[in-house]
Amino acid sequence: MLTRIMTVLMLSATLLLSASFALAADTIKIGGLFSVTGPPAFLGEPERNTAKMVVDGINKSGGIKGQKLELIVYDTAGDATKAVQMATKLIRDDKVVAIIGPSTTGETMAVIPVVEKARIPLISCAAGSKITDPVKRYVFKTAQNDALAVERIYDYLKRQRQNRVALLTVSDGFGASGREQLKALAPRFGMQIVVDDTYGPKDTDMTSQLTKIRASQAQVLIVWGTNPGPAVIAKNARQLGLKLPLYMSHGVSSKKFIALAGDAAEGVRLPSGKVIVADALSKKDPQKASLLAFVKDYQNHYKQEGDHFGGHAWDAVMLLKAAIERGATTAESIRDGLENTRNFHGIGGTFTYSAGDHAGLNKEAFVMVEIKNRDWSLAK
C-alpha cells in the first residue's frame, strides 16, 4: 500500500515539474510570498492585489525591454513553516530570479536563510528592523522601519512640549518591535515613559489598562497595534472619558480603523506613509506623482482605496523593474542593481539603498496625520 502511495506521489511530482518546464522561456520570473489568508491577511491581500496589478500594467505597456514579467504568487497563511516551503518551491521548481514578500517579520526571518543560501534577492514587505539590521547580502525591504515612525511621534510630541507618555502595545510581533523602539528612543527625545502596558491581539476590552493609565501622570497615550485592537482602545477611552491625546502607530493607517472606531477616532494622531494623504501633499513633494498613480490605479482595479500595505508591494515590483531596466538579468545582477538604487520616489518613501543600508528610507517617509471628520488630514 505504501509503495502505491509513493508511486502516486512520484507521478504527481513529475507532473508538477513538467508543468513548470512547459512555460515560455523568455519571461522574467519573479515570485511573491504573501499571507493572503490567516491572521495577517490585512497585509497580504492588498500586497498581492497590488503586485498583480503592477505586473499586469508593466506587461500591457510592453514589458521591460521587451521581456514580459511573470509573477508567481503563493499564499503563506502567516505561517513561518509554510513560508519556508513556498520560498523553496519558488526557487527550486519555479526558478524565479527574485522574490517579493513575505508579509510579516516572522515569516521573513524564517525565509532569510533559504534565500541567502540560494543567492536569490528578496524584497520583504515587512517592517521589523532586524530584517535588514545587520545587513544581509540578498535581503532588502520596502516597509518603513518602526523606528522611523517612533521618531516621527517623539519629534511631534517634543514640539508640543509633552514628555510624559503612557505606552499600550499589542503582544505580537508588530507590538513587540514597536515597544522596543519606543523604549529605546525615549531618552534621545527626552521622553519619560510613565506606564508601559500591553494587551493581547484578541482582547476585546482594554478598560483595565486604560483605568491604570488614567490614574498615572501621563500626558499622552501611545497605542501600538494593528486592527482591531486600537479601535477598541479608542472606543474604551471615549467611554471612560479619558482626556489624554491619543497617538497610534502606522499599523492602523487604513480606512478600516476609522470605520471600526467611528466617532472615537476623531482627533487620533498617527505617523503614516504618505499614501493616505496623497491629495493633500504639496506639489513639490517628489513622491506625489507615484502616490497619485498608485491610488488611482488601485481604485480602478479593485474599487477600494489603496493603502500603504499595498504600497510596499508596489515599491518592491517597481524597484525590481528599475534594477532590470538598468541591465540586470540574473539573480546576482538584480541584487547588485537593487543595491545601486538612488532616490527612487516610491509609495513608502524615497529609497536609497547602499551596501550598508538595505532599508533605504529616512524619517521623511512618514507624515503625522490627524483624523478629522472621519477622514485623514495632515497634522499641524
Binding site: M6, M10, A80, I91, R92, G106, M109, S171, A176
Partner: protein, 321 residues
C-alpha cells in the same frame, strides 16, 4: 511478529529511497516537515490511540523542545546534540510531574486541562521576551553537525529527520506489541477492569504521557535546527488540533496510520494549490468525507475502499458473463 518486521522493513526502504524521486523539487523540503509531523503524530497516538487519553496541548511539548534547543544552543552556546537530550529529559520530567494530577481527570476535563497547559506554555513563549524574543521569533539557531557533516540542505535534513522517525516508529511498534501495549489497550477499553487484573493504570498513563512528551520534544529540537528560526505561532493551539486530526484521520491505535495522517495533512495542501482560493473548502470537505466514510482512519479505510472497488468490478464482470 514476522509480519511486523516485514511491514517495518518495507516502510524503512520506502522512506530511505523516497528522496530519489524528489531530488530537485521543493517537495523534499515538505517531506522533511512530514517527518517531523509523523514523529509528533506517533507520539500523540501512543497516548490517544493506545492509552485512550486525549491531549489538546501537545504543541506545547513540541514548542518546549524547540525553544530549549534554540535558546540553549544559540544564547548559551551548548552542544546541540547534548541539548536535544537535555530538552527531551526536561520535557519528559515536566510531563511526568504534571501527568499525575492531570491524568486523574477523564474525558472533557482531561481535554480542558491539557488545553490549558498548552495555552499557558504558549503565553510563556510569547511574553517572556528577554529569553524567547517573544512574538517576533527567535532566529540564528545553528544547523546540527556530525563531525564534518553539517545538516544544512534539504537532502541532509531529510535523512536526519527520517532516521529519528524510523527510530521512533520502531520503538512505538515494539512498545505497542509488548505487555505494556496490551496493558495500555486494556486501560483504553476499561480502566477499572485493567486495574482489577493488576495493571498499575495510574503510573502507566503518566509514563506514556511522559514518553509521548519526550518524543514531541525531540521533534521540536529537530524542527528548531532544521528551520533555524522559531516563533510562537508554530506551537499554538491550532497545531495541537492539527496533530489530533492527523492521528484521527490516519487511524487511532495504528503507528503507520499516524504516518499516513501526517503525510496526507502536510502534503494535501500542496497538491490542492492549483485550486487557488477554493483549496481550503475542498480540504475541509475531504476531511469531512473521510471521517464519515472511513471511521477507522486511512489505515483501515484505504484497504476497505480497495476491496470494495475490486468487488464492484468483479460484480460487474459477473453480470456481463
Amino acid at each position: 511478529m514476522k509480519r511486523e518486521l516485514l511491514k517495518y522493513s518495507i516502510f524503512a526502504v520506502c522512506v530511505l529511497l523516497a528522496p530519489l524521486a524528489f531530488l530537485d523539487s521543493y517537495l523534499l523540503n515538505v517531506l522533511v516537515f512530514v517527518g517531523i509531523h509523523t514523529m509528533l503524530a506517533v507520539a500523540l497516538n501512543l497516548l490517544l490511540g493506545y492509552a485512550g487519553q486525549i491531549s489538546l496541548g501537545h504543541a506545547a511539548f513540541f514548542g518546549l523542545g524547540a525553544y530549549l534547543s534554540g535558546v540553549l544552543t544559540t544564547t548559551y552556546g551548548w552542544n546541540p546534540w547534548f541539548t536535544m537530550l537535555v530538552a527531551a529529559i526536561v520535557v519528559g520530567g515536566l510531563a511526568f510531574m504534571i501527568g499525575f494530577p492531570i491524568l486523574k481527570l477523564k474525558g472533557h476535563y482531561l481535554a480542558m486541562a491539557t488545553l490549558g497547559l498548552g495555552i499557558i506554555i504558549f503565553i510563556v513563549f510569547n511574553e517572556w521576551v528577554e529569553v524567547t524574543s517573544g512574538p517576533s521569533g527567535f532566529s540564528g539557531i545553528p544547523n546540527l553537525q556530525l563531525g564534518q557533516l553539517i545538516f544544512d540542505s534539504d537532502l541532509k535534513n531529510y535523512y536526519l529527520v527520517w532516521c529519528f522517525v524510523l527510530g521512533c516508529v520502531l520503538l512505538s511498534v515494539n512498545l505497542a506489541n509488548s505487555r505494556i501495549g496490551r496493558a495500555l489497550r486494556a486501560i483504553h477499553d476499561a480502566e477499572v477492569a485493567a486495574r482489577v487484573v493488576g495493571v498499575n493504570a495510574r503510573l502507566l498513563k503518566v509514563q506514556i504521557f511522559a514518553l509521548s512528551a519526550m518524543i514531541s520534544a525531540i521533534a521540536g529540537s529537530l524542527y528548531a535546527h532544521v528551520m533555524t528560526f522559531i516563533a510562537p505561532p508554530s506551537f499554538g493551539f491550532n497545531i495541537s488540533v492539527e496533530l489530533l486530526t492527523m492521528v484521527v484521520i490516519g487511524g487511532l491505535g495504528s503507528i503507520y496510520g499516524s504516518f499516513l495522517g501526517a503525510l496526507l495533512l502536510t502534503l494535501l495542501p500542496e497538491f490542492l494549490r492549483f485550486m487557488h482560493d477554493y483549496d481550503i473548502v475542498f480540504y475541509g470537505g475531504l476531511l469531512m468525507v473521510m471521517t464519515i466514510f472511513m471511521p477507522g482512519g486511512l489505515v483501515q479505510g484505504i484497504p476497505d475502499l480497495f476491496r470494495k472497488l475490486v468487488g464492484l468490478r468483479k460484480g460487474k464482470g459477473d453480470s456481463h458473463a
